[in-house]
């Protein structure tokens, strides 16, 4: 890699040992990628310094388990602990491991909660904004068009590139932590104009309107695209933020889609020609009724028992409109005995939900609005859960595999109906 004088100085330790370690990691990473240089980034979203009890214990046995130890040894991949200075730029922490108020309901131990509180204080002290969400763009960090970012969280990355037109690769924990200290990330992939054009045309031949349909289309596209860049055209309604959120999250789960274009909708696709740049589509792939049915069946292949114990909403973290919708569907009703409904969002959005009475309406019906985490990230389920109902293709992709439970996929209404009756009755309409 070709380094600027400032980058060389950082690598030589002129800005302290933490920035030296961070730069060393970023150079190794850039060389692995085959990048030629760095790009300056000031908007960084990651999960710095957080540790599970396993990691903490491991590092305790190997030199120390403090926040600084974990940050140095895990985040910066350093063999020694270095003092952790305040970060520069607009840095935020993405989703965390537990709700700061409902952690007991989530089955977390007082030790784990105390540890989480300590980590959070360290983040704040180091200048990292505690947004604690997979949707930073709904909670106070919305990048600008063309802004170079270093973001983790595949659903946020695909949103950042596709919907906003800002530029980020799918970064990892170690690269975002290093970028928080250095303001640098390899100038590779989605930072470069020529890598942002579409590769394949997805021709949608069946109407795609609902949030559920956008999620299914995303799941189909991720599976057929893997890491390619789809250009989506055809029978599409105008997607709002929620539809983009579910579509992108699904495409980034079944495959590795980090950017998509919707012709006439997303900022870098005013026309089909612009979306593809100077290139021709590698292939055209059709999405029709057969494909739609197949995706629906695949997303429901983990479900066998129609008795549903648990309904999880809010993957990616719910927007205020989604919480309002859940409150409307639950108002004046009661969730069936022995069943649970948890809806996940960010603290910022929950404060608005509290203000509007949505949180209370959901609680009065027997559900809980939780923040910071989700069942997959926090590995937390209501006790005894065997069968879950989900309205997120992304969550269906992960939760049954991680927690060894059955899952049904459907619309938000299907899921809320399952919470009220205790039975799954969703179908493809």
């Amino acid at each position: 890699m070709r380094l600027t004088d400032q980058e060389k100085a950082m690598l030589d330790g002129a800005e302290g040992p933490a920035r030296q370690k961070a730069m060393d990691l970023l150079v190794r990473y850039g060389e692995a990628l085959g990048a030629e240089r760095f790009v300056d980034v000031s908007n960084i979203a990651g999960v710095p310094g957080s540790s599970t009890l396993f990691l903490q214990d491991y590092y305790k046995e190997h030199g120390g388990g403090s926040f600084e130890d974990v940050f140095s040894r895990f985040d910066l991949d350093s063999d020694e602990t270095v003092p952790f200075p305040k970060v520069g730029g607009n840095c935020c922490h993405l989703q965390g491991g537990m709700d700061p108020e409902l952690w007991v309901e989530q089955g977390m131990s007082p030790d784990a909660f105390a540890h989480q509180q300590q980590d959070e204080a360290e983040l704040a002290r180091h200048g990292i904004q505690v947004l604690k969400t997979c949707t930073p763009y709904l909670a106070g960090n919305m990048p600008a068009y063309g802004e170079h970012c270093a973001w983790m969280e595949s659903s946020a990355v695909v949103f950042c590139n596709s919907v906003v037109g800002a530029r980020t690769n799918t970064e990892g924990r170690e690269s975002t932590s290093a970028a928080m200290l250095t303001g640098k990330i390899p100038d590779w992939g989605f930072h470069l104009d020529e890598h942002r054009h579409g590769t394949h045309l997805i021709q949608v031949d069946v109407p795609v309107e609902s949030v559920m349909d956008w999620g299914m289309l995303g799941y189909f596209i991720g599976d057929v695209m893997q890491e390619n860049i789809p250009v989506v055209a055809g029978k599409l309604g105008q997607p709002d933020l929620i539809r983009h959120k579910h579509f992108g999250a699904a495409a980034a789960s079944s495959g590795g889609v980090e950017m998509y274009h919707v012709v006439g909708v997303t900022p870098e696709a005013p026309s089909l020609e612009t979306a593809f740049g100077s290139k021709k589509p590698v292939a055209t792939i059709h999405y029709g009724p057969t494909e739609r049915r197949r995706v629906y069946e695949s997303l429901n292949s983990n479900g066998r028992d129609l008795d549903v114990d648990y309904v999880m909403l809010g993957c990616p973290h719910a927007s205020i409109e989604q919480i309002g919708e859940a409150a409307r569907l639950l108002a004046g009703k009661k969730i069936k005995d022995g069943r649970s409904l948890w809806m996940f969002t960010s603290r910022a959005v929950k404060s608005v939900a509290d203000l509007h009475g949505y949180t209370k309406t959901i609680r009065d019906a027997g559900g809980l609005v939780m923040t910071d985490t989700c069942s997959a990230i926090g590995r937390t389920l209501p006790e005894g859960t065997k069968v879950v109902a989900l309205d997120s293709a992304k969550q269906v992709h992960y939760l049954p595999a991680i927690m060894g439970i059955q899952a049904w996929f459907g619309s938000t209404e299907d899921c809320i109906q399952a919470a009220l009756t205790g039975r799954w009755s969703g179908e493809l309409r």
Binding site: L25, R28, Y29, E31, A32, L33, G34, V47, F54, L55, Y58, F74, D77, W151, M152, E153, S154, V157, N169, T170, E171, G172, R173, E174, S175, P186, W188, G189, Q226, E227, A252, S253, G255, G256, S301, N302, A376, H397, Y398, P400, A401, I402
Partner: protein, 143 residues
């Protein structure tokens, strides 16, 4: 060549992470998810529809198309390294930020851009030597 010496196949590519390691190959045609796709504490693939579901990659030379899924890829494989369940080396086809960072923090000798398709040249059970610095893969076919 001596008639009893096993045939060796050499593939040439480019360094991702330096160092040398050898071991038994574990080959898959499916891309691999890190976070949510593997259990780092047992070194096992857990993804529902994956052809390696339930298979352990500890100490193997992992041969696969590349990474997909969550941005927790590097952290999941980093954790597998710390827990003692990481693969010894990696050979893959498609470069992504997930796999580049994952290979770096796993500190596993890794190569890509090979002159033959590693998914055809290498089969599970072959003995594979990866020279990361020189970008060379030496395959001894299983008996």
């Amino acid at each position: 060549m001596s008639p009893i010496a096993p045939a060796k196949i050499i593939l040439r590519g480019r360094k991702v992470v330096g160092g040398c390691a050898e071991g038994e190959a574990l080959v898959t045609r499916d891309t691999i998810s890190g976070w949510g796709g593997i259990d780092p504490m047992t070194g096992t693939v857990i993804e529902t529809h994956h052809e390696l579901r339930g298979v352990c990659f500890k100490d193997k030379v992992l041969v696969f198309p590349g990474a997909k899924g969550s941005s927790g890829w590097s952290a999941a494989f980093h954790l597998a390294r710390i827990a003692g369940f990481a693969p010894k080396a990696m050979i893959f086809k498609v470069m992504t930020t997930k796999i580049a960072l994952g290979a770096v923090v796993m500190r596993a000798p890794s190569v890509t851009d090979l002159d033959q398709d590693p998914l055809t040249a290498i089969e599970t059970g072959d003995w594979v030597k990866v020279d990361g610095d020189r970008g060379i893969v030496e395959i001894t076919k299983k008996a």
